[in-house]
């Protein structure tokens, strides 16, 4: 019996696992926090798009032997600027602009890895994330972005709330909406940058959407969503990561499945009330 009990702690004997679970838990909380804005503004496609854009940068920096944060960061910002340019010309919508630029970036990254990378292994790591490669710098990076996000969201809480609920009236009432939006996009890009190595390109947008949707079903208050959602994100990341060790499944997939499980449970428990609350969210 005590043997089984001790077995529950074996994953924590590995440094790489400890690093991985710390990064994942903070990442879950961070994605939960920013996910509130993503979900309420119906822009989950942005999380999807940004992660695909950053993938191109990650691939390029791997191939060219540049530091991941620098390469992927510059690439992500460049994609953001290009998307803004295309969308501003209004010939095609922002969603289409994002679709074109980010999938192109993704395809380019894939081609680069095929041609010059150590092929399969590294591609899989970027697509699905990996706990193996997590270093102390990742913990520092994700913590820094999390602290920055908390400070900004608290300091500008009202402006963020107003600009999210009603950008036009916010603008008229003196909130600098364009600035708030840029700030949010910046934080989202940073978040994706620092969490991608653990969660992977393909599943990060789910981590931005699921905790916030669960929180929305649980409360009618924006302020409460802002702390419920990070808790749900952190709990699903921690438990998912932990279970993946025993189930021998992909860590990020298990994290998302844990989140989905919570979604289903809350969906069932809150019943009709919860369902109507999320029915107006324009996503998934």
């Amino acid at each position: 019996m005590s043997f089984v009990f001790a077995g529950l702690f074996t994953p924590f004997h590995y440094q790489f696992f400890n690093n991985g679970i710390i990064v994942a838990t903070i990442a879950g909380a961070l994605c939960g926090l920013l996910g509130v804005f993503v979900v309420l503004r119906g822009m989950s496609y942005i999380g999807h798009g940004l992660s695909h854009a950053v993938f191109g940068g990650a691939a390029a920096s791997a191939v060219m032997n540049i530091n991941y944060f620098v390469g992927a960061g510059v690439w992500g910002v460049a994609s953001g600027v290009i998307i803004g340019r295309i969308a501003r010309r209004r010939l095609i919508g922002a969603d289409a602009a994002i679709g074109v630029v980010t999938t192109a970036s993704f395809a380019l990254g894939l081609a680069l890895l095929n041609r010059y990378g150590q092929a399969k292994k590294s591609i899989e790591a970027v697509l699905f994330g990996s706990v193996l490669g997590v270093k102390t710098i990742d913990i520092v990076a994700v913590s820094a972005v999390a602290i920055l996000s908390i400070i900004i969201v608290v300091a500008l809480y009202r402006a963020f709330l107003f600009a999210t609920f009603d950008p036009e009236v916010a603008q008229v009432s003196g909130v600098r909406v364009a600035w708030i939006e840029a700030l949010l996009m910046g934080l989202l890009s940073l978040t994706i940058l620092v969490t991608m190595r653990v969660i992977g390109t393909l599943l990060i947008s789910a981590l931005l959407v699921i905790p916030a949707s669960v929180a929305r079903m649980l409360t009618n208050s924006f302020a409460r969503m802002l702390w419920i959602s990070p808790i749900i994100g952190a709990v699903s990341a921690f438990t998912g990561m932990y279970l993946s060790y025993f189930l021998d499944t992909s860590a990020s997939a298990t994290v998302i499945l844990m989140g989905t499980l919570m979604f289903i449970v809350v969906y069932a428990v809150t019943g009709l009330r919860g369902r109507t609350r999320i029915s107006g969210l324009h996503h998934i």
Binding site: E168, G174, T219
Partner: protein
């Protein structure tokens, strides 16, 4: 006495994707004005209000505003996201969102907001979610939010759409009170008899300004036909113009034959 100019549109045209919505608008709002804009659906009422607010910019001509003009905007309720997780109090407090304010609504702000809500007949509803209100109450929450900003110019887009007669009267009384207190008001409406005819100044809009003046001068069959593209008759009842659908008699006759 003529009040100072708050907003002036000079030869202003606005477009969406190069399709003109309103053209060559010459229009002035002065302190103390209480103006209604009428016109058919798609005639550019919302566009004109947004140009005045500065949330869209004209492609031709210009809008000049009194420096630091404080404006309160009550949008068409159809544009509100009713699923958004906010309470009545949170919505009202929104217009004091300038930087340096803490997340929590302060005691003073709360007291202020409760006064405004009380005044609009929304006392006791401050902790309700915005969807858990009647249509008239929802409308008034957004008026409350605009008032909380202490505007000099209040801009309302169809403040009485979808509300019953009594609520409409209440809204009118409220606006008249605010006007008495020195708030200048501009609103758009589809309600010619219930709202527009009671205002001191009316603007008929159909992409261009067809007429601008007092209801007695503006509500004439010629202007209305030009604005709405449909025949209308105007009766005078108790000194006030009452607009009747020109085809009304015709239809009534056909209906009576059916019976």
């Amino acid at each position: 006495m003529i009040g100072e100019v708050l907003v002036e549109c000079a030869h202003m045209s606005c477009a969406y994707n190069s399709t003109l919505a309103i053209k060559k608008i010459d229009f002035t709002i002065r302190k103390g004005d209480f103006v209604g804009i009428v016109g058919p659906s798609g005639s550019g009422k919302t566009t004109l209000l947004k140009a005045i607010l500065g949330s869209i910019s004209p492609i031709e001509g210009h809008v000049t505003k009194k420096p630091q003009l404080r404006m309160g905007y009550v949008p068409q309720v159809e544009t509100v996201d009713w699923n958004f997780p906010v309470t009545v109090l949170e919505v009202v407090a929104m217009t004091r969102s300038s930087t340096g304010r803490l997340p929590r609504v302060t005691k003073d702000e709360r007291a202020d907001a409760l006064l405004v809500l009380e005044r609009l007949g929304l006392g006791g509803l401050e902790n309700r979610h915005i969807r858990e209100l009647s249509g008239g109450q929802q409308q008034r929450v957004f008026v409350a939010r605009a008032l909380f900003h202490r505007p000099e110019l209040l801009v309302l887009d169809e403040p009485t759409s979808g509300v019953d007669v009594r609520t409409r009267h209440e809204v009118l009384h409220l606006l008249a009170d605010l006007h008495d207190e020195g708030v200048s008001i501009i609103l758009s409406t589809h309600d010619l008899n219930g709202l527009a005819a009671h205002l001191p100044r009316l603007v008929c809009l159909n992409s261009e300004i067809i007429a601008d003046g007092s209801p007695v001068d503006v509500l004439t069959p010629e202007v209305l036909e030009q604005t709405f593209g449909a025949p209308m008759e105007v009766l005078i009842h108790g000194g006030m113009p009452v607009v009747v659908d020109g085809v009304g008699a015709d239809i009534a006759e056909r209906m009576s034959r059916l019976g």
